[in-house]
């Protein structure tokens, strides 16, 4: 890419001085050369559709015929719709539970399974990671069947020890916890593996030194592990937040947003309005409101973690 000849050390130091404008332009050139392949692919296949979708959100596009510009009509009718606010509430509920719980569980499991003395940790890691490998469309089948009252294996076992459970998915109060559990089940192993990869980058000498100083396990975690994991944690929290704000698959398969819309999320609404009611302009507007919400949360998180991140 950038075939730079070997230069004398003094010259290098001068070129890399932050005050030289020539070098600034040069550095920009290098940086953009590095990013060129990604930017081309992203520009064509992501940014371009992104902009097209943004334009659609100001039209009455419905797949057929010519789309007409309608100004902010989609957005204003969106904010006046009870359905939107209800689904926003459901989405917030889902995200507010799923994000912190799955991250905390993932970190705990990562710390547990990063112990070098632990026998069989490879197999255990694989077992916990396994749900990430299964497509939710398939995984939802056992979940529905295992929890069906009177024929489901789990409800049957619970029943035989005297606990009678109603069908969670068919109750307006319990359906959401049920799809949240499946969401956490699916992603916790995935985040755990990211945390394990993060733990690998912490030099073991730090722990040796701390141990010699007599630091307790909690102190080692508080003063070494947690701060040094902040890059990983920032990544995991933002990814988990995006994923939970976009929850769709298991809800689509398990409840279709019901009963009585108690599990309908914004992405479900997008799907319904766009692909079942053909209101793609309106659906795109919902999509962009969702982007805005996630973006605001993510920027807050980034600021928070950037202030705490350890930089070398």
């Amino acid at each position: 890419m950038t075939a730079s000849p070997v230069r004398p050390a003094g010259l290098v130091a001068r070129i890399w001085s932050p005050f030289a404008t020539r070098s600034r332009r040069r550095r920009a050139l290098i940086a953009y050369t590095f990013m060129l392949p990604s930017l081309v692919v992203m520009g064509v296949f992501m940014f371009y559709p992104l902009i097209r979708a943004a334009i659609l959100s100001f039209t009455n596009y419905s797949f057929f015929g010519v789309a007409k510009y309608v100004g902010l009509a989609n957005y204003t009718s969106l904010f006046q719709s009870h359905q939107f606010w209800g689904d926003l509430g459901n989405t917030g509920y889902y995200a507010a539970v799923t994000t912190p719980v799955s991250i905390a569980l993932a970190l705990a499991l990562a710390l547990l399974l990063n112990r070098r003395q632990l026998p069989g940790r490879g197999v255990l890691r694989a077992a916990i990671f396994l749900p990430a490998v299964v497509s939710l469309a398939v995984a939802a089948i056992p979940f529905r069947l295992l929890f069906t009252p009177s024929i489901g294996l789990i409800t049957y076992w619970l029943g035989s020890i005297g606990i009678h459970s109603s069908d969670w998915l068919d109750s307006t109060t319990l359906a959401m916890p049920a799809v949240i559990i499946v969401g956490i089940w699916k992603d916790v192993g995935f985040y755990m593996v990211i945390y394990i990869a993060g733990l690998q980058t912490i030099p073991p000498e730090f722990y040796e030194a701390a141990r010699i100083d007599g630091a307790s396990a909690w102190q080692r975690f508080r003063n070494i592990t947690w701060p040094l994991l902040s890059n990983t944690t920032m990544f995991v929290t933002i990814i988990a937040l995006i994923a939970s704000f976009q929850a769709f698959d298991q809800i689509f398969v398990m409840t279709q947003g019901g009963p009585a819309f108690s599990t309908e999320t914004l992405v479900m609404l997008i799907y319904r309005q766009g692909f079942q009611n053909f209101q793609m302009g309106y659906a795109s507007a919902i999509g962009y409101v969702l982007v805005l919400i996630i973006l605001i949360f993510s920027l807050f998180q980034m600021r928070y973690f950037n202030r705490r991140a350890i930089r070398y």
Binding site: L50, V133, W185, L299
Partner: protein
């Protein structure tokens, strides 16, 4: 808790420490095994269902295992789809995306993590925004674009839109940021170019992260059912999971058959994970740098 405040090193005697560590490991093992069992239970059910005769899958007295074991679901699943062809498509698709994406993502992540240039934050946020727009919204403009390019039903239509990935860029950026600057500075003084630093220092120190990301890319595309079905109308272009999706009938669910097909699709991914997992351990053991 307050032991750090004690000035003299308060190390317990060696055998006690060892006993405590063993005890701690025992607890850790118990908790980890319990967590793994809970998590893996639905998948165990999938497997045991796949070897049950269809007549015993749903019953008033459900059990994890049945008295009779049958391989007929696997035989049927194998015969119902062109398994080798679908597998080859999946490997081309998932493998192609993984290789391209690892290369492109790591280059961009290097620039975002280690270089200072105008527009850096803007680009980073733009990259993240591509993750935030739901696929359902992006799908229509993307499909129209692929049709215009005549890329529907082609491998490039399947692979190139995924050749780079905001998730991957973000993931690697975070890891590249944790690599100590001193190593890089020493190389710069020796006159190394950025590409050389990227290649010899950053990539080399990020092998666990690259393997992990490679596994994620591979797994995600391996599993993806919707995208291959959207981009290809030709069943000879289908991937394994989209082919297996055809087992799910409109009115009838053949539990044993679907579960057998799913198990067949999972097994290669488990092997891939265990492989990457081993490399994890190796990379720590062999890296003298840490």
């Amino acid at each position: 808790m307050a032991r750090a405040g004690v000035s003299a090193p308060a190390r317990p005697s060696a055998p006690r420490a060892r006993r405590r560590r063993i005890l701690g490991t025992g607890w850790a093992l118990a908790v980890a095994v319990a967590a793994a069992l809970v998590i893996v239970f639905p998948l165990v059910w999938m497997f045991t269902t796949s070897i049950k005769p269809e007549s015993e899958i749903i019953s008033a007295h459900p059990g994890l295992f049945s008295a009779t074991v049958t391989g007929s679901n696997y035989v049927q699943a194998w015969q119902a789809i062109d398994f080798p062809r679908l597998l080859a498509n999946t490997v081309i698709f998932a493998g192609g995306v993984t290789i391209l994406s690892l290369a492109f993502d790591s280059l961009t992540a290097y620039a975002l993590a280690r270089l200072d240039f105008p527009g850096k934050n803007v680009i980073f946020v733009l990259v993240l925004i591509t993750l935030m727009l739901p696929f359902q919204v992006n799908l229509v403009p993307l499909f129209l674009l692929l049709t215009k390019l005549h890329w529907v039903n082609t491998y490039q239509g399947l692979i190139l839109p995924r050749a780079t990935n905001a998730f991957g860029i973000f993931f690697l950026r975070q890891f590249f940021m944790s690599i100590p600057k001193e190593l890089e500075d020493a190389a710069r003084v020796d006159g190394a170019s950025d590409f050389k630093i990227y290649r010899t220092i950053i990539l080399r120190m990020s092998v666990p992260a690259l393997l992990t990301l490679g596994l994620f890319h591979f797994m995600y595309n391996w599993n993806d059912l919707l995208w291959p079905l959207i981009v290809s109308t030709n069943s000879s272009m289908y991937t394994l999971s989209s082919g297996l999706a055809l087992f799910l009938g409109q009115h009838v669910i053949q539990y044993g058959l679907i579960m057998a097909g799913s198990v067949l699709a999972i097994v290669p991914m488990v092997i891939a994970f265990l492989f990457v997992q081993r490399r994890f351990v190796e990379s720590i053991a062999t890296s003298g740098l840490r």
